[in-house]
Symmetry: D2
Amino acid sequence: MKKNIKIAYIGGGSKQWARVFMSDLAVAEDLSGEIALYDIDLEAARRNAEIGARINRNPAANSKFTYRVCPRIEDALENAGFVIISILPGTFREMRSDVHAPEKYGVYQSVGDTVGPGGILRAMRTVPIYEGFARKIRDICPNAWVINLTNPMSICIRALYDVFPQIKAFGCCHEVFHTQTFLTRVLKELRGTDISRRDIYTDACGINHFTWITEAKYQDIDLLSLLPEFMDRFYEEGYYEGADRFAFRTDPFAYGNKVKLDMYRNYGVLPAAGDRHLAEFVSNLWYLKDPETVRAWQFGLTTVDFREKQQSDRIAESIAMADGTMPFPVEKSTEEAADLIKALLGFKTIVSNVNLPNQGQMPQMPLGSIVETNCVFSNDQVKPVVSRKLPSAVANLVYRNCVNIDTTYEGIKERDLSKLFAAFVNQPLCSSLTVGQCRELFGEMCRSTREYLDPYFDLDHYFLY
Amino acid sequence: MKKNIKIAYIGGGSKQWARVFMSDLAVAEDLSGEIALYDIDLEAARRNAEIGARINRNPAANSKFTYRVCPRIEDALENAGFVIISILPGTFREMRSDVHAPEKYGVYQSVGDTVGPGGILRAMRTVPIYEGFARKIRDICPNAWVINLTNPMSICIRALYDVFPQIKAFGCCHEVFHTQTFLTRVLKELRGTDISRRDIYTDACGINHFTWITEAKYQDIDLLSLLPEFMDRFYEEGYYEGADRFAFRTDPFAYGNKVKLDMYRNYGVLPAAGDRHLAEFVSNLWYLKDPETVRAWQFGLTTVDFREKQQSDRIAESIAMADGTMPFPVEKSTEEAADLIKALLGFKTIVSNVNLPNQGQMPQMPLGSIVETNCVFSNDQVKPVVSRKLPSAVANLVYRNCVNIDTTYEGIKERDLSKLFAAFVNQPLCSSLTVGQCRELFGEMCRSTREYLDPYFDLDHYFLY
Amino acid sequence: MKKNIKIAYIGGGSKQWARVFMSDLAVAEDLSGEIALYDIDLEAARRNAEIGARINRNPAANSKFTYRVCPRIEDALENAGFVIISILPGTFREMRSDVHAPEKYGVYQSVGDTVGPGGILRAMRTVPIYEGFARKIRDICPNAWVINLTNPMSICIRALYDVFPQIKAFGCCHEVFHTQTFLTRVLKELRGTDISRRDIYTDACGINHFTWITEAKYQDIDLLSLLPEFMDRFYEEGYYEGADRFAFRTDPFAYGNKVKLDMYRNYGVLPAAGDRHLAEFVSNLWYLKDPETVRAWQFGLTTVDFREKQQSDRIAESIAMADGTMPFPVEKSTEEAADLIKALLGFKTIVSNVNLPNQGQMPQMPLGSIVETNCVFSNDQVKPVVSRKLPSAVANLVYRNCVNIDTTYEGIKERDLSKLFAAFVNQPLCSSLTVGQCRELFGEMCRSTREYLDPYFDLDHYFLY
Amino acid sequence: MKKNIKIAYIGGGSKQWARVFMSDLAVAEDLSGEIALYDIDLEAARRNAEIGARINRNPAANSKFTYRVCPRIEDALENAGFVIISILPGTFREMRSDVHAPEKYGVYQSVGDTVGPGGILRAMRTVPIYEGFARKIRDICPNAWVINLTNPMSICIRALYDVFPQIKAFGCCHEVFHTQTFLTRVLKELRGTDISRRDIYTDACGINHFTWITEAKYQDIDLLSLLPEFMDRFYEEGYYEGADRFAFRTDPFAYGNKVKLDMYRNYGVLPAAGDRHLAEFVSNLWYLKDPETVRAWQFGLTTVDFREKQQSDRIAESIAMADGTMPFPVEKSTEEAADLIKALLGFKTIVSNVNLPNQGQMPQMPLGSIVETNCVFSNDQVKPVVSRKLPSAVANLVYRNCVNIDTTYEGIKERDLSKLFAAFVNQPLCSSLTVGQCRELFGEMCRSTREYLDPYFDLDHYFLY
């Protein structure tokens, strides 16, 4: 018997993740219903609705969904049992400022959307939007499950819970999955055994994009204990689970895992995100000092030029998929959102890592801060699992970033630029800057994206003062 | 491929639980190995080894185990991957004092092995033995998983972790399972739907024998919300999930769930243990005032006469099973220990409730106290799940007992009779006694079991002083 | 140089404490200003204003204050630097129900205004009034220091902070002072040394009327260590620091300290309140079983007849003092409120015990619960001092009452009678009652004081249901 | 009546602080007794004994003390009521490595004894010595009050409590006093009012040398609120409370308070230590980038050449004071140790800031970490006062250092060089270094002081590995 559900998709014009999700839903056998696509880019939402209609006609689609484009968010949320949020706050113009403005000061960012100068400015644009989402959900569909995909993840989740404490929201991210896959490769290379990431059990905890695996087992094998041997063979030349080891030269999403393994060597536990994310949570002089250093560590800086190019390619793809000139394979992806939905509908019990307010699952972090740990998903339930303690040196690294994020959130919530500046100055990515340089850079980044900030922050007053 | 394991069974002469466990292991398809039975009653252990051998010859046995009787505990523990502990501290003579001595003072106990005067005295005999177990496990098989079945559960687990903090121990109890079964009956009676307890998801937390279900769902149905309707129909006459509603008149393990439902009515959440256990955690004047009150609430007092009779019946059964004159059915029971072992060996992931030190899973109880909550069992891992908060009135009831247990443990650990007396006086079951009466009763119970206490406590000095 | 202050006195018609306070202010050399008396009994406030005027004319008065009667609370609060609150919620009619209604059920209360059935009902009348006070203070004089004297103390303070978290409020009670005086008597009796309570240092912590002294030193002498010797000489016959040992026979505020010393004997730390208060925090069967038991423990039940008589005597006194026919001595009392005001004005630093929300000063109690510990009073500051830990058995007694109080407060705040009932049932003073009897008694007490409850609680709906 | 006390002075050959302390004791009117001087430099202890004898002969000495030189620490501790510890772990040779070795890597330290590379190496030499002290105190004088003056303060206190949890130890530091004096100057400059630091009330909290004043009041004046006006007038040119504003050019202990005020500007609360200490708790690129930056911020680098010169001057002074050729003024200093001793003896109650394990006084830091807050000193009691919360951005800065210190301590306790390296890498003073550079520098510093480390750490194994 199929369960009938309504999913509201905020940011339903998404150029990539939406397709993956629609495909995963289509192959799920137990579901059917309606997907309401809301986006400020109405045209993009319409294209996804057309792609959805084509998926329904694909014989591989076990389930059919009605795709509806909603110009008003209220209509999308009405009667929704699930809400997906995946938006881009601002345009590439603002992202260009986030990512590249700090370079003049010698601060390079490999992603620029989570922490660091870019993460803070992006958060300043995002939180006011999320405050609105939380109020709408509270008023229209308070019992819906809300799945967030937008970065900065922790701050988005924090805003949702702060505005509407009873919200049933969590944040999904695939970075830990990639590290689990990396561990399966370690086993393959050293022992010849070929397994899937779902065959191993990991205990992971931390904050989004800076989560750490403290235990990883496949059958009787402690996978972390294999790493020294793996490093003897592969550390020098680098190793990438997603493609060949030179991929990072052309693909800014690729990396050689040298940062990850260097951290493992120093701390004895394994950070569970791509190297491009990890590098942003520690001193910028370690792995991001300059483009040469980045290259030596075998990862890349994701430029906004690249992102713009990627975006226009994807739009072209969407158009082609919508009009049928490009085939769209309907198949199970490696993402988990559709599985989690099935667990929440009571079809099964899953343990997976997501982002939630700390209720005790990470005793080393402040209660209420957003942390990423294993959680049990079952019938209408997400319950966090108490994680193993991090070594104190790692806990300190995580805590610093966790409190920075909390301070950033408070600064935005209270529209307090001096609190935001305190968070800015304390970013590990600003390690090479003096307080004076930070002040200059922060001012410049605020001013160049002021179109999105002026409704909320009194920039003129603060920067004159 | 079968996994080869060695299980040390401390208390391997067990008259009942051992058979169930041996049978559950035999039907498990993935296991084989050795079970080392250690017991101070060597003869009983030998009978179980013979029953084991007969099980191996039963065609329903998917797995074969070698049963070995070990007169020395060290031999049983050597190379063990799992250790089961299920012992009776002292004899029926001491149990008679635990359960019946307080009756002279008007204090009736329905079980007498967890809390109350009987629970404290039993703990005083048990902890010194467990201190020895913990040291042996630390020295001989520190990586073994230790499954405790002995009462008082919380105090046994506490002693194991206190002596050997790295121990991988947890405590299993089936009381919550029975309450889950009760909930399936509620659904059956009201809606006609027939399900198994494994089909529902519950969030349970508390302390052993005083655990509370805060959420229970079957598909879209909130099972707790059915209780008012259920009570309208069944409260007056009583309802028992294990047999007919009059069973309590002859079977002291049976009950009418009137205590449980009365607590639900007062607190809005459902206590998850048999009524005979629940009644011992609150004022003795509520449900245990006198035998008539007990009968009116439709449960029974488990007398030691009854237990002695039961025991001798079981010994006769064991003998008959061992020599083959009584057939022994090899089949899956409702107990979970064998399943948990399989999960710990990496065969599957299970969420089930067990007793562990509080690491954050019950933020309302002190860290380090032993609590019972859901836990995730997977490959060589038991990780507690953060439970939903109890209503403050219930948290207070649980906390009182939790601290009593902690005080009892500390008193035993420090061989401090005045601390033990403070815990004694504060027992809800002693609500009808004055401090002076408590002092008299405590003295009497200590003296009448002094054979087991003298090696550890200076009774003469304390009671003279 | 005198500091000029305005004090708003809510309940300014107080028949006793107001006079003490006016006298203490008059002898203080550094102060002057205005005292605004607000009371719903306007006449009583006027009498106090006249007494104040007479005090000003007394040569012993170092400081002059203007006394003004304010028929509107807003006028009293306007520009106030200090607010005293000392009110009686309801009339003797309601108090009669609080104190005596439970007697039919065998529940005797020696005070009936803090915990137990009487404490809960009194709280139900008081909190809604305090919610109003907190809002007025927030709006009119948010920076004023608020000194609460009304019982139930903890719940009054909780309500003030809950409605207005930035309030600068604390609660004063003299019970600990009396116990300090008792300790000076212990020294006098055993060693002949005559000292004042201010000469000794004590560490006290707990909740109001159930605070415990964990350390008490005079010079090199550990005063608690003297108690066994003291008990050998005085325990049997009783000992009262306030008058002769038989005073309790006629004065219900007197007692023989037998309850206090019995608790000391059981727990090793000394409870710091009058026996009549202490007895209400433990099972009613211990010290309050029936009037004979109370008499045997050498304290008394404070009847409402007695209170009415006392009240009319005091009114007569007030009238005589106001018209000058009865002289009023202007002298320093043993109360501390005037001293604390001087410390808050920056004249000195004082360490004294008061009631405040727990911010870490009692790590064994929940954060946010109201606890009584030492605090440092200095210039515009009250900072709690971290107290020594209570023995776990005592912590458990205190915790039970602390959570009962929290549950009572929540129940009132949320106007939730079922939560209030859960707190009612869990009162140690209800130990001899079944849940059914509790339900009956609670209903009766609610109904007989419904005039004050109906505006806030839906009694009919709850008690029918 | 004078109290007779015995004080053991570990490091009794101290060239400066000992004299101050002896003088403060001499002017105290209520004390007399014996001071046992223990030092590995026996000659220096003898000189101090001679200076002590001369103090006794000075007419300004109200109290006489017997000075005794003890070649064995056990004799010094025997019967001691107080123990002062003030030692230098290692020689100037090791200090030269601590302070100057990092300069080759561009890391400048203004003090080098608390945190940063120098702080860690100094801690590695100090903790093993303190472990020995703690054991001796436990065995010989467990009830003595222990006053620590040695740096790194936090780690010394931590070691004492970790080895002997019942120890009555605390750590004294004068840095907060200087900042209080600075605040009196602010008042003087702006309002013309001349007061002493004891006239103001401050709430200070943090960790040693990185404590923050969150409130400071003199009468009705909020002193922190004066700082913006003060900065308008004095920030540019600098201001030093200890001498003229150019003192920093020649005196490395002098500073212009520009760092302190810059931090105040960024965070809204005032750090309470000399600028040379403050600069070491944040990125080395902020205030310590190179000698020019240091000079621009108006403070100095304390070179070991300077310390050696200072030391030899002081020895010459000591010799001259001991033989009477240099007069020694007997007068009250600004230090507080003698006052605290008097409070602990019951002569008075003092509130002052000292270092203690966190028991709840700083809810934002981990329990057990060493924090500096106000404490109440009275008869045989030191009780911490719960401090006001730090702004979250400041809490984060403090927390990072606090956990670094905890990790350093754990690393030393466990003799675990990899844990120490994790603490090393995370030092704010190492912000300009890569992990590789940190590894090199750490190795070099360990090797060059190995004489003191080899008994405890397996350097060869770690640095080869």
